[in-house]
């Protein structure tokens, strides 16, 4: 149970870090994003932009912890039969977090000011 909480925490932390890292990309993404975020939002994104790499690194670190805890072999438990519903949920969260982090890494290549 405690391990599950750690995995969920890692996943949520990675998602949050990834989202913030992705958001920093939107400081200069154009009028559509400006319409969503407004002056304060794009200004905040620009202020966070220098720290983008730290958010990505934090995301990756949390993902490493989460995946290791979620997928490491457990004593006496081998194969799909040992995967509980809660474990499936936590693993799904992890993959969502991984996708968020990948998006944060590749977004600057597609969002150009």
């Amino acid at each position: 149970m405690k391990q599950g909480s750690v995995v969920v925490g890692s996943s949520l932390g990675a998602i949050a870090s990834g989202l913030v890292a992705a958001a920093t990309t939107f400081c200069c993404a154009g009028p559509a994003v400006f319409a969503l975020l407004g002056t304060s939002g794009v200004l905040a994104a620009a202020r966070l932009e220098p720290y983008r790499m730290y958010f990505i690194l934090a995301s990756i670190a949390l993902l490493v912890i989460g995946f290791w805890l979620a997928y490491r072999p457990k004593g006496g438990c081998i194969g799909k039969a040992c995967t509980t519903t809660s474990a499936k949920v936590t693993r799904a969260l992890l993959w969502i977090a991984a996708l968020t982090t990948v998006a944060a890494i590749v977004l600057p290549n597609f969002v150009r000011g």
Partner: protein, 173 residues
């Protein structure tokens, strides 16, 4: 949550009035020359670009610290990154110096002009912060070459560091 909290903590002032340049930069030229004897700082910034807003905020905070009688700040809002005139009022809130002269350059006249003045090859000038000494005069069609400038674009030149820029302003005073 972090982004929202930083957004909430952004110190932004009230909207300021601005002048629409129209088809000529004459209004800026006249103001520039009328302020002869003062150090003048000219910013070309987009109202919808986060980096421009950050740059304008930081540079104006530096200018606000010095004697307003010795320096004048001009914020020229340009139509880059989809910026439109209706975006200017909100953008003026990031400029800390209340004595700033603000302009909307809807035809990007100064962006084109400064591209030639600064020798930029790939793009019109924007997200650029320029400082002129007290003796600078705008006599021709093009604005004079600044004594110092920094920018946040991909063109060659110094990347904006507001504290370094502020020190340069004080040096020219």
């Amino acid at each position: 949550m972090l982004l929202l909290s930083i957004t909430a903590c952004n110190r932004m002032g009230t909207e300021a009035s601005y002048v629409v340049m129209g088809n000529t930069s004459e209004v800026v030229r006249k103001a520039f020359n009328a302020d002869a004897g003062k150090v003048r700082v000219v910013m070309l910034v987009s109202p919808t670009c986060g980096m421009c807003l950050k740059g304008a905020s930081e540079v104006s905070q530096q200018i606000a610290k010095v004697d307003g009688k010795k320096v004048s700040l001009y914020a020229v809002w340009v139509p880059r990154l989809g910026g439109r005139e209706k975006d200017v009022p909100a953008a003026t809130r990031v400029v800390a110096d209340p004595f700033t002269r603000e302009y909307w350059d809807g035809n990007d006249l100064l962006g084109v002009a400064y591209r030639r003045v600064l020798g930029w090859k790939d793009d019109d000038a924007w997200d650029v912060y320029m400082v002129y000494g007290p003796r600078a005069q705008w006599t021709g069609d093009l604005p004079p070459t600044p004594d110092f400038y920094m920018h946040q674009d991909a063109e060659p030149g110094l990347r904006l560091d507001a504290s370094v820029f502020g020190a340069k302003v004080k040096e020219l005073m």
